[in-house]
Symmetry: C2
Subunit: 160 residues, 2 copies
DNA sequence: CACTAACAGTTAGTTATACTAACTAATTAA
DNA sequence: TTAATTAGTTAGTATAACTAACTGTTAGTG
């Protein structure tokens, strides 16, 4: 088959082997991202904080519950996290006049800028590491990630 | 090229694109693993706890500093974490008679069993998700992970 | 219409992770 | 032998996460 030609001799992996590889590989990647985000001079963010801001960038005017659901945490946790971001001036929290139970969350100017700086800095650091790979290897990474992305999309939410 | 044949029409990605994909994809995966490990009936473990046990499985008789370095945390953090695992009866901590500054850490019987149960349960849950993929897709995942593993191996440790 | 359900958000209290700083004890180097 | 380095612990702080208990707000039902 083409697959074996294009990547030298290569034994097709079982789902179990892939799972094991994933469990081993994911930690150093997380570690790297965490360290990068924490080490930014100004605007150091934790990974969860980054995720809140990134979600609000893609979904402006979100409610707290929407943030909580996306992060996979309780509303209590999201509330506290958002509170810190509001205090740091990165997020604006206001009452929704339509549904007064809801709060409307959106990035402030600062929040938007800090997020973008962080996103680019982290992406570039990772990209620099990845530039050691050959074009073919980059292709594998890209396609592998696409598959994983599909598989894990809504995997966690499913169980009640 | 073979690459384009074997995966239909596919534009080669830049390192930057791969980095962006990685940043997006890694969170749902982590989420899933965290939820799985936390939801085990008996022997619920956090991800960091799991990593400590997994390291001690591969490196018995390790010192605290070795654990700390592998996890990428300070000795203070490692000390506290190990302390909890000792209290839970999963890890045995004893003085090293050779070097009396060191402590010798190793899994207890319970720790070893709990770890193995957790490893297999989590791996199977992930494998089940991955079994939706075609053999070719599994190949991409596997090879992509291999590349990422190489790249991120010692990426974090480097900076002083 | 009133009363109850359900929903959204917050607060309090607890546990775990992680940090720095300050400390003790042990080993190595000057 | 004193000084410096190394290993580990402890104290104090911040963040993240949970459950449980609470206040409002909206929707449903008799």
């Amino acid at each position: 088959m083409d697959l074996q030609n294009s990547a030298s001799v290569y034994q097709l992996p079982t789902p179990d082997q892939c799972a094991a590889a994933l469990m081993d590989t994911i930690h150093p990647i997380m570690q790297f991202m965490r360290t990068e985000m924490r080490s930014q001079r100004e605007a150091s963010l934790s990974v969860p904080q980054f995720r809140v801001l990134a979600f609000l960038r893609r979904h402006p005017e979100s409610s707290l519950s929407e943030v909580a659901e996306h992060l996979g945490v309780t509303r209590a946790t999201a509330s506290t996290m958002v509170d810190r971001l509001v205090q740091r001036g990165l997020v604006d929290r206001s009452a929704d006049p339509e549904e007064r139970r809801h709060v409307r969350l959106q990035l402030t100017q600062t929040g938007s800028e800090d997020l973008e700086r962080m996103r680019q800095a982290t992406r570039q650091k990772i990209a620099k590491l990845l530039s050691d790979l050959s074009p073919e290897e980059l292709g594998f990474v890209s396609q592998g990630l696409t598959c994983l992305s599909q598989v894990f999309q809504d995997a966690t939410v499913s169980e009640p």
